[in-house]
Structure formats: C-alpha cells, structure tokens
C-alpha cells in the first residue's frame, strides 16, 4: 500500500533558469524585504513630499504666468529638486544600504550565496540594485515625472525644446548621485558585520568631509577646497550638468575625478571583501 503523500526526498526533474539571473533574484528579494518595513515606507512617502510641492509650483507657474518671476519653471528649478532630494537620498542610503552586506557577513550568508551558481559580481550587482532602485525611485522617477507634468500642465514642449539639456541633466545627475552613494555605501557595508556601525561610518564620512571643506573655507576664505567634500563634488557636477554657475571655486574636473575614484575604490573594496571564505593572514 503506497502512502497518500510521500514526504521523503524526491529528485527534481523540472526546468532550470539560465545562469546569470541570480542578481535579479537577490535584488527582488531585497526590495520586497525593505517594502515590508513600515518605517521605511514612511521614509519613501516622505521623500515624495517635495515632489508634491514642486508639482504645485509648476502648476502655479503654468496657470499664473504673471507669477513666473517668483515661481518660474527653469532648469535651475529641476536642479533644486535634485538637491532637495539628496537629503532623502542620505536617509534611504543609510536605512537600506548599511545592512546590505554587513548583515550577510554577520549571518555568514556569503558562503551560502557563493556556493550557488552565481559570480561575486552578480551578488554585488544584486545588492547595488536594491539600493539603486530605491534611490532612483526618489530622484530619477520624480524628476522625470516633474518634466512630464510641466509638459502636461503647459500643453506644449516649449520648455523642453528651449532647454534641451534639462532632460539629460535630470537623468545623468540622478544616476551620478545614485551610483556614488550606492557603491560607497556598499563598500562600507562590506567592511563590517554591524549595520549600525556602517551607518555611523557613512554619516561620518559625508559630514566629516563637508566639515573639513568648511574649515578650509574659514581658513583660506576661498571655496577652492570644496573637492574635499563628497557632497560638494556632487553639487559641482550637478551644476555642470544643468549648465549653472558653479557653486564653488574648485575645478569641476577634479570633482569628476574624485567621484570616479571613489566609485573605483569602492569596487576595489568590494572585490576584496566579497568572498566565500575569509582568509585571515
């Protein structure tokens, strides 16, 4: 007599997905995990409040052109939006990113991940995608939405055609902010087993570099030392993209090089730290 349901081990004869998709599995699981946290949902909702404010501003400027001087829709307005969002980017980066690798290291999960048919770069890509998805959701997505709303409210493409650099500037500046924040945070997260420590470290790096730049201003009376600050480098690059007057005197090429170097350094740290086995020499 055979049992009603065999609960013993059975061989699997179904299909298997092609290799190279594990990063998406990691990313989706991470995104779903974060969306289950009510506090984080609150942060996301908060990050969209400026979108509402800017939407009203665009509507007002389009509906009452006489108020244009005060509330005018200009390329600078879109840059201002990106800059406002950097505050929320900081919170989301700390909340989402600090534990991305640190928690896996604490739970010895790297050996589980890397014993599966996935490369280290897929693991890193999956983790970056989690943070990048949320950061893009509060920068690029609302940035593009504001452009669409401007076109919808005005009923013409006049603004876009007279300012063709705005759309690429919104896309590029969002991407630069997201890439720098994602890789820097992920690299820091790979250095520790404590998400809390990583959060403090990231906050320290951001504020310490800005404080150092501030001290230099005080001493020299010049903003040429702005390249020391990660945030100011991002501001300078954003100024360039939106074709605005640079906020600081530091050369923008130096800022670009520093940001590129930071991303390269982060990738190098990740390459060293994300391994299936920790070798203590």
């Amino acid at each position: 007599m055979s049992p009603i349901h065999d609960q013993s081990y059975r061989r699997y004869s179904g299909s298997r997905e092609p290799m190279g998709r594990a990063w998406a599995v990691i990313a989706w699981a991470g995104i779903r995990g974060m969306l289950n946290k009510k506090l984080f949902l609150g942060v996301l909702v908060g990050a969209w409040i400026p979108v509402l404010v800017f939407t009203v501003r665009i509507w007002f400027a389009v509906t009452y052109p006489q108020a244009g001087q005060l509330f005018g829709v200009t390329p600078a307005m879109f840059q201002q939006f990106i800059e406002v969002q950097t505050l929320f980017m900081f919170f989301v980066t700390v909340y989402v990113g600090s534990g991305l690798i640190a928690n896996d290291r604490r739970a010895n999960a790297l050996q589980i991940y890397l014993a599966k048919p996935l490369m280290r770069v897929e693991y890193i890509a999956g983790k970056v995608a989690i943070l990048a998805a949320f950061l893009l959701f509060i920068t690029l997505v609302p940035g593009l939405l504001l452009i669409i709303l401007q076109v919808s409210f005005s009923g013409s493409f006049a603004f876009i055609s007279s300012n063709p650099h705005v759309l690429p500037a919104v896309i590029l500046s969002s991407l630069v902010h997201v890439v720098v924040a994602s890789f820097a945070m992920l690299a820091l997260s790979s250095l520790s087993k404590s998400a809390r420590y990583v959060a403090i470290l990231y906050t320290g790096v951001i504020f310490f570099t800005s404080a150092m730049a501030g001290i230099l201003f005080g001493i020299t009376g010049s903003t040429r030392g702005a390249w020391i600050s990660i945030g100011m480098n991002l501001e300078l690059v954003t100024d360039l993209m939106f074709r605005q007057k640079p906020s600081y005197e530091a050369p923008v090429t130096v800022s670009v090089l520093i940001l590129a170097g930071l991303v390269a350094l982060s990738i190098s740290v990740l390459e060293r730290r994300v391994r299936g086995v920790e070798v203590v020499k």
């Binding site: 290799m19 995990g33 896996d104 014993a115 391994r275 086995v277």
Partner: protein, 312 residues
C-alpha cells in the same frame, strides 16, 4: 561523464598566508558516499572550499563531476549542494522563504523553488517550524536548515562539512540517518567531512583520510577495516610502557582508548587456535604485567584512522 569520479584532485597545494593547508594532494573520490576524515586542521574544509572555488590552489588541478573547477565553477556549483560547517543563513527570512530563495539562486523557477522548499523542509524534519525566522532556530535546527538549503535544487553531489556539529545525541542520530538515506536510497553522491569517526563509518562506504594537509590513506571502509590483521581489546595491570614496547617490537600496533583498555592490532594472516592471544599473553608475561582482559574485537574505522595518522 557518468564514469568520471565525483571529485579528483591532482597535486593540489593550497596556501593560507604562511600556512600550507594542502600539500601536493592527489586523490580520487568515487561516486557514492565518501567520508573525508581527519583531525581538526587536517585540511578538510580547505579542500571543500577549494572544490567550491572559494580558494584558488597555488598548484594542481581540481575536478568535480568531470569538470575543471578553474574553468567551469558555475556549472559545477549548479550541480553541487554545500552545507557549511559554520552557521549560515540569509538574515530576516523564515525557513521556507530562505530555502526557496536558495533554490531560486541555484536556478529553480520561483514556483518550483517554493514547492521544493516545503518538501525538503519536511524531509529534514523542519516541516512544522518552516514559517519561523531562521534566527530563532536552535543549533540542531540550524544544522537541518543548512542541509535543506543544500538539497533544495537537487544537487548531484553534496558537500557536508561537519553536519552533526553541536547536535544533541538524538538530533545527531537523525541527521546521520538523513545523510545515510540520501546516499543509499536517494542516489545523491556526497562527501562528508568530519573528524567524528562513527559519523563517517555509519554513513559512508569510502573514506579519504587527511592529516596535516596530505592524504594519509584512502579506500573503501570495508577494505581498510578488514586487512590481514586482527584487533584485540586488552587490559593489563602493571607497568604499561615495557608491555607496549614489547608489542611494538613484535610488529603489533597499540592504541590507548579513553578507559584503561588498549586496542592491539596484530598484523598478518589469522592463524586461528588462539595463537594471537597466546602471543599477547606471552609478551605480557615477559614484560611483567598481568592480563586482566583480552577479547577479540572487530576492526573499526578508528583503528584505520589511528594507524593512518600515526596516533598508534
């Protein structure tokens, strides 16, 4: 492909900093259940991690299921299940989500992975606890979940690194039963790395003994246990060292156990008629000790291990 061994190592050396963990190791692990035996620090975990591609050997080649580890690491890992020695889980997940997630990472479609996760969790005895967060599990349960995540994608070869570590006797027995069932009834090839001889003896048919980064001996357990020689349990009263020296001079090997009983290995073909017993008693007499207990014993893997790693 079917004729290829589960694992083949050819002159493999692995170095950790200044420490050479594997020294020019050549070994063949046939399909079936193979025990990787050795004292702590012998290089067992290093060997498994090298086979997984976590460590790159400084010298030599590694093959798993006929594929070169250096060339086809992903193809190999798609067909491997690895149960690590240390605790490991994905933070913030319950057991069924964790195991299904591991299935997806190994290439199973989402729905299949979830179905397999339920099945495998029942198989390892965590069916009732499958919706609990893994972080709340006891040590024994964590061992079981590690086995479940290694099994979910139905690997052709399973690496089990000290699977009974930290388990209570009942849990240990159940874990060994699972491993034995997988190897002997479910057709899963496995390599069980352990320093616990009874675990290997109960679950495996073949054994590779590592010591100080080299292969001390290898072969089927039956073959290794049943050489031309006999084992006796001996307890004596008197000064032991001269007696041990006399036994060793006569070509016998001695191993002291935890109690006051020695295990004496007598090499050569059995002569019958109590000749071996008479020789031991004769040596005891000439060494000035009294034999209080002398009993023929079945050779165990412990004897093989002791001889191989030179503890006798």
């Amino acid at each position: 492909m079917n004729d290829s061994p589960a694992v083949r190592l050819d002159k493999v050396s692995v170095v950790y900093g200044r420490n050479q963990a594997l020294k020019d190791v050549s070994a063949v692990f046939p399909k079936g259940a193979v025990g990787l035996l050795g004292p702590n620090g012998a290089g067992k975990s290093t060997m498994l991690k090298s086979l997984l591609g976590f460590l790159t050997p400084t010298k030599g080649t590694l093959e798993v299921l006929g594929l070169n580890v250096a060339d086809k690491p992903l193809e190999i890992r798609a067909r491997l299940g690895y149960m690590p020695e240390s605790d490991g889980h994905i933070p913030g997940m319950n057991a069924v989500t964790f195991v299904a997630y591991c299935g997806q990472l190994a290439g199973l479609p989402k729905t299949d992975a979830m179905q397999r996760a339920h099945e495998v969790l029942y198989y390892v005895g965590l069916g009732e606890a499958r919706y609990r967060n893994v972080e709340t599990y006891s040590t024994g349960m964590k061992q079981r979940i590690k086995l479940a995540q290694a099994l979910v994608h139905d690997p052709d070869l399973l690496f089990l690194d000290e699977p009974t570590n930290g388990m209570d006797p009942k849990g240990r027995e159940e874990m060994l039963e699972l491993v034995r069932d997988l190897a002997h009834n479910k057709g899963v090839n496995l390599i069980l790395s352990s320093h616990l001889l009874p675990d290997v003896e109960y679950t495996c048919d073949y054994v590779v003994v590592l010591d100080k980064g080299t292969v001390a001996t290898h072969g089927s357990i039956e073959q290794l246990k049943g050489p031309a020689g006999r084992v006796f349990e001996v307890r004596v009263k008197g000064n032991l060292p001269p007696f041990i020296a006399a036994l060793e001079a006569a070509g016998m090997a001695c191993q002291e156990t935890e109690e006051d009983i020695m295990r004496v290995f007598v090499p050569g073909e059995a002569m019958g008629g109590g000749v071996d017993q008479q020789r031991i008693c004769g040596l005891a007499r000439t060494s000035g000790v009294q034999v209080r207990h002398l009993k023929a014993s079945l050779p165990s893997l412990e004897d093989v291990f002791a001889k191989a790693v030179g503890e006798s």
